[in-house]
Symmetry: C2
Subunit: 430 residues, 2 copies
């Protein structure tokens, strides 16, 4: 950045500006040695990269996994927020408890009960700044540099960035259409432990995995936990989309029958509002205190106003009805996307058929790298996330993620229609 | 915890409950080896420890450094929050940019201009979840385990917890009544570097230091930065109280004349509302991108609603007038505390006279440990924070922190009156 500025305009700048630029360049040089080893591992997320691009008018964004907030009762929420500040402003705007408010932690247990976790206790819930922060805290608490975290291939890009910031070695386990393959998980663990690697946890999104939309099959769920338990590995279960199932029967979270082996992460970002940044971890009793202290060392306490707004929403609104609305909405959008894919996608492409969540995962023929296709797609008026974002490797990927959550059915169809020739051209060039 | 439960009640529990407890105890045992090395460094803050106690009715809390929010225009803020959600809810409740909203970053530059930083640019501002999170990100970005962070003695307990969670060696530099002593800082750095230690930054609260209330003298400010620059050490300047000066002339932040060597941390917690958890870092141009990415890896993005409420407050309210109100309020409370100390404190005690901020620092005769006195003070109806909380050492401390920010003058006087005999007794027992 500094050098570009120098090259472009040094000739026309006043002397003191040139001094300033040179001083900064010198500082950049001498401060380079101050970075931690982990700093080299902290990278830009491809999803965030395209965040600004996605906002351009005229573009169809199938990139971001944003919930469709238009269906929220904004007028009523406006009045609720006003009420909270007018009546309880001295609490809402003040410092609060590091673990989160007692009321919200009680209510979070009810939300988890709707997911199938019936024995959660408020004292084992830690409210966090979104579930990204809950992942950060788990990694902080368990991972030394060089330790292994197992993830599904593909997995959530934000979690990858968080893990890598702790110099963790992220190792992938293959999925098929029914999710993680227990035999492959077991074999992978055995090989890594045989090689002397210290594996700390398996990070998994069992419901409607981001980015693939794949769900871990019922009969594999206990198997996965048992394999981890036998190998003395914790499970970090991330379930932001669990309640957004629009097809098939609900499956119990891994945490449900395994209170001592699973740290369960939940979020209000998908079932209510991501802009509040309120997520949580349900932590096994014997790990709770250290987890909570680690969370406090990062953010001191979660924002009181935001917690109170979520509490009011869970207390006074038909939040389950709103989830029904979301389910119908996302089901319709998912159907629109699958229909458009069927109509427009060139031969040689395949895709997943999710039963919930926000994403469809498209596979192109081997040998195609979807990353350079992004630029062409943007030129064609549509944005997606290239598959390479969702694995720890730097290998090219022939996959891409399409999100159907944030745009109406017609726009989804138009986006897929715009994408098709870009993919067609890449396939033809093989 | 588990063992207490077992001892106390195992005889009366049903078999399945006993099974559950034994299973958890076994898990606790086998999961112990999974903790990271840093986990052992993550500790309870003494300030947070007494947070719950401070809420007990009848107690006078001189413990927490909470701002006095009663003076905020809550009715109007209520209407503002309502407006934001009603008119801009789709933005306020949605994901946002990881660096913070452009509007707030512009406004933060104006706030810093009021502090004496005239050249801040919005692109170098990163909005964080309170300035605690900004400290966390700085440590993440710069500190390997074993690296040294220099701090004033005493310093902010939350920062100590954050640093220690990264296995940093926190080394203290002595202050006198004019703040950090440059000669001692220089000697300390030389000794540490001679011993081969890698020092990454000096963390300093130059204005009305928490807990001591001491302010770094004008003539020492540039000296401190120059010493650090010569040794190639960054300065992490934490200035939450800077605008809350009620006496003496304003002093320029260390950052003002040193854009390339100082990461400046600001916060709306003391000048507006801590419950929103909105702070920021002004980062030197050449460090900005990596700082921002590290922030994103922890919390993805700061809450949009909270940022928009701060923006509206800075845009539409007389926020400088409100700061004047705070100054008058805290000046009065500080005077009340100093008067009460003069009236009630036993011989042998001394205390600081802050020119701003929230805290007075009381020193008892050598040989007294203020930690065990806390229990006696609570019995006497008053809470303080023992001095040991504010240093990295485990040594007993003969100091204690009194906060005058959150309670009215009469209550302050009553609190000091209750504290006096506890200290008197300890002195008499020497």
């Amino acid at each position: 950045m500094t050098h570009e500025t120098l090259d472009a305009s040094a000739g026309t700048l006043p002397a003191e500006a040139i001094d300033a630029i040179e001083r900064a360049a010198t500082s950049a040089h001498r401060h380079e040695e101050l970075f931690s080893e982990r700093a080299a591992n902290i990278r830009q997320s491809a999803v965030r990269d395209v965040f600004d691009i996605s906002m351009r008018p005229g573009l169809v964004s199938l990139a971001g996994g944003s919930p469709y907030l238009q269906s929220l009762p904004l007028e009523r929420l406006s009045a609720t927020a006003a009420d909270i500040i007018a009546k309880d402003g001295l609490t809402a705007l003040q410092y609060g408890a590091g673990q989160g408010t007692p009321e919200l932690r009680e209510q979070i247990c009810e939300v988890m009960a709707a997911e199938g976790i019936l024995d959660a206790r408020p004292q084992n819930v830690v409210v966090t700044a979104g579930s990204q922060s809950a992942q950060d805290v788990a990694t902080k608490l368990f991972c030394n540099p060089g330790d292994v975290v197992l993830v599904e291939d593909p997995t959530y890009v934000g979690a990858l960035n968080t893990f890598e910031a702790y110099q963790v070695r992220v190792e992938t386990v293959e999925m098929d259409q029914f999710g993680l393959v227990p035999e492959l998980l077991e074999a992978r663990i055995a090989a890594l432990q045989l090689a002397g690697r210290s594996i700390k946890f398996l990070y998994t999104i069992p419901n409607f995995n981001n980015p693939s939309g794949i769900t871990l099959a019922r009969e594999r769920r206990q198997q996965v936990v048992d394999i981890c338990r036998r190998a003395n590995i914790l499970v970090l279960e991330d379930n932001p989309y669990g309640l957004l199932r629009f097809e098939g029967e609900p499956l119990p979270p891994l945490r449900a029958a395994n209170p001592d082996d699973v740290i369960y992460l939940g979020s209000f970002s998908k079932i209510f509002a991501p802009g509040l940044r309120i997520g949580w971890a349900l932590v096994p009793e014997h790990l709770q205190r250290r987890y909570y202290l680690a969370a406090e060392s990062v953010t001191l306490c979660p924002p009181a106003l935001n917690q109170m707004l979520v509490s009011a929403y869970l207390r006074d609104y038909d939040w389950k009805g709103q989830i029904e609305t979301y389910r119908g909405l996302y089901a319709e959008r998912c159907r629109a996307m699958l229909a458009a894919l069927k109509e427009y996608m060139p031969a040689g492409t395949t895709w997943t058929s999710p039963q919930g969540g926000f994403f469809v995962w498209v596979t192109l023929p081997e040998g195609i790298d979807t990353y350079p296709l992004l630029r062409k797609a943007i030129d064609a008026g549509v944005v997606f996330i290239p598959g390479a974002a969702f694995t720890p490797s730097d290998e090219p990927s022939n996959k891409l993620r399409l999100a159907f959550s944030a745009v109406p059915p017609d726009t989804i169809a138009e986006g897929v229609r715009r994408l098709a020739p870009v993919l067609q051209e890449a396939i033809a060039a093989l």
